[in-house]
Structure formats: structure tokens, C-alpha cells
């Protein structure tokens, strides 16, 4: 008789830790964080917008590294990691664009500005990884798809430093990093909810990556079974 699978798996522990960290980060950002002098209540969007953006950069960096290792070793595990990280990176970048727009409306008076370099470079970054996912989706498991996707995954990363440094190179609407520009609040009032948000999103990213890679591995097993069934 097979024993019931344990629920205390590393994946489940990470999932519960991510959920708890998200709740703590939410509490610190909404309840504990004081209002900002100019932006009022709206600065609280920073505590979800900035960690989302930084973890989006991380996921795209992991896509690029995993793509590079895949090109070198041709091991499918690295391709699965690159694919999973790109998909989660697109979701995170979507959330960066959406939460940034929601913040911009009350503070700037506009949802979007085509004149702001940070906004436009982030959109370009998002589009380049949409192209990556479209290639994966449309080509399926055709020969060469993983190799072509790996090249796009590496080239797409070039946009990340451009996006990050765009606020220094072409200053317009988007503010500089909050810890550098804030003068009216103690650093800890910003730092604690920010770090809680970072921890929450990193844990969530790890959990999602594990889950997404497991789905991709199951899909590859299913494809292999189908091929075997057709061969019989």
C-alpha cells in the first residue's frame, strides 16, 4: 500500500512562507507606513511597485543566465528554467506597468507618458519577453525552438540595465529611487516595508518558478508518452 504523500514538502513550505510574507508586507505597507508629505496615501503603491520591478529584473536575468547555460549544455532543465522565469517575468512586468500607471494618475495627473524613458523602456522590455513567449507558444516543440528562444532570452536582457538606469540618463517624470530622494521621513519608515515586500516577492517568485517548471516537466513527459503511443 502506498503511503499518502507528505504535505510538508519544500515547495509547500516556500508557498506558505511566501503567503505569510505577502500578508506581513501588506500590513507594514498599508497600516504601519506613514503618509508621505507630497504624495499622501499614494506612496504606499511604492511598496508593491518597486519590489515587483526588482524581482521582474531578477527573473529576466535568470532567464538570460539559464538560456546561456542551455545553449552551452543543451540540458532541458535549463530551458525549462528560462521559459518559466520568462513567463513569470512577463507577469511581474505587467504588474509593474499597471501599478505604475495607477500611481501616476493621482500623482502626475496622467496614467501614462510617452515622454518618460523609464515607462517606455519598461514597455519595450515587456514586449521583448512577450515575443519570447509567443515564439514558445506558436512554435511548440519544433526543432530549434528552445535554441532560438535562448538567444532571444539573452538578447532581451540588454534592455534591463537600460531600463534601470533610464531615470538617471533621461530624467523626466519617473522619480529616482525613493531611498535616495526621500528627505522628510526616517529611512526605517521606508526601508522596513520595502524589505518586507522584497522578501515576499522573492519567496513568491521561487514558489512560482518551482510550480511552473513542474508543469513544463509534466508537459514534456506527456509529449514523450504521446510520441511513444503513436510509435506503437
Amino acid at each position: 500500500m502506498r503511503s499518502a504523500p507528505s504535505t510538508l514538502t519544500p515547495a509547500n513550505v516556500i508557498g506558505v512562507a511566501a503567503f505569510a510574507a505577502m500578508l506581513i508586507a501588506l500590513y507594514l505597507a498599508i497600516v504601519e507606513s506613514p503618509d508621505e508629505r507630497v504624495q499622501g496615501i499614494h506612496h504606499r503603491i511604492y511598496y508593491i511597485h518597486v519590489p515587483t520591478a526588482l524581482v521582474a529584473y531578477l527573473s529576466i536575468a535568470i532567464t538570460a543566465v539559464a538560456s546561456g547555460v542551455y545553449l552551452r549544455t543543451r540540458r532541458p532543465r535549463w530551458d525549462r528554467l528560462a521559459y518559466a522565469s520568462a513567463e513569470i517575468g512577463v507577469i511581474l512586468t505587467t504588474l509593474v506597468l499597471v501599478t505604475g500607471s495607477i500611481w501616476g494618475r493621482p500623482v502626475w495627473g496622467a496614467w501614462w507618458s510617452w515622454s518618460d524613458a523609464r515607462l517606455v523602456t519598461t514597455l519595450v522590455m515587456w514586449l521583448s519577453y512577450i515575443a519570447y513567449l509567443m515564439l514558445r507558444s506558436l512554435s511548440g516543440r519544433a526543432p530549434g525552438t528552445a535554441r532560438t528562444a535562448a538567444v532571444i532570452g539573452i538578447l532581451g536582457f540588454v534592455n534591463v540595465p537600460v531600463t534601470y538606469f533610464s531615470v538617471y540618463l533621461w530624467t523626466y517624470l519617473h522619480p529616482l529611487p525613493t531611498l535616495q530622494s526621500a528627505t522628510d521621513r526616517p529611512e526605517s519608515a521606508i526601508l522596513v516595508p520595502f524589505l518586507a515586500g522584497m522578501l515576499a516577492f522573492i519567496l513568491l517568485y521561487v514558489y512560482l518558478i518551482r510550480m511552473r517548471m513542474r508543469v513544463e516537466e509534466a508537459q514534456q513527459n506527456l509529449d514523450a508518452l504521446r510520441a511513444a503511443a503513436e510509435g506503437q
Binding site: 496615501i41 532541458p76 507577469i91 501599478t99 528552445a146 512560482l208 510550480m211 508543469v215 513527459n221 506527456l222
Partner: protein, 68 residues
């Protein structure tokens, strides 16, 4: 930099919307992946039942290159 935006300078609706969208998207994605995993697993199970000797080759093998 604060502007008269017609919504009021301290409207909590924007903060609520930003947090709600993030949570809804993440839970939606988790739900989608759980459903997909269950769907693939049920297809694997039914295929394995129909071909009892086909377990070999279905497991992951890093030496093989199914993507290429």
C-alpha cells in the same frame, strides 16, 4: 508635483486597486497552473493505462533533448 486630478489627493481607491490587482493576478496564475498540472497529470494517467509498458522514456532524462 501634486496635481488637482479630480479624484482627490488622498483617495485610497488607487492604493486599493494597485494591491488588489497584484493579489488577483498572482492567485489567478496559481489557480491556472494548478488546473493545468492536474489536467496534464490526468492525461498522463490515462495514456499510461492504455499502454502499460510505456513508462520508460516518459520520465525526464537530461541526456535526451525533447526541446530540440
Amino acid at each position: 508635483m501634486n496635481v488637482d486630478n479630480g479624484f482627490g489627493d488622498f483617495n485610497p481607491l488607487f492604493v486599493f486597486a494597485a494591491y488588489a490587482i497584484v493579489w488577483i493576478i498572482f492567485f489567478g496564475y496559481l489557480y491556472y497552473m494548478a488546473r493545468r498540472q492536474a489536467d496534464i497529470q490526468s492525461q498522463i494517467d490515462s495514456l499510461q493505462e492504455s499502454m502499460p509498458n510505456s513508462n520508460e522514456g516518459a520520465e525526464e532524462d537530461d541526456a535526451s533533448q525533447p526541446s530540440e
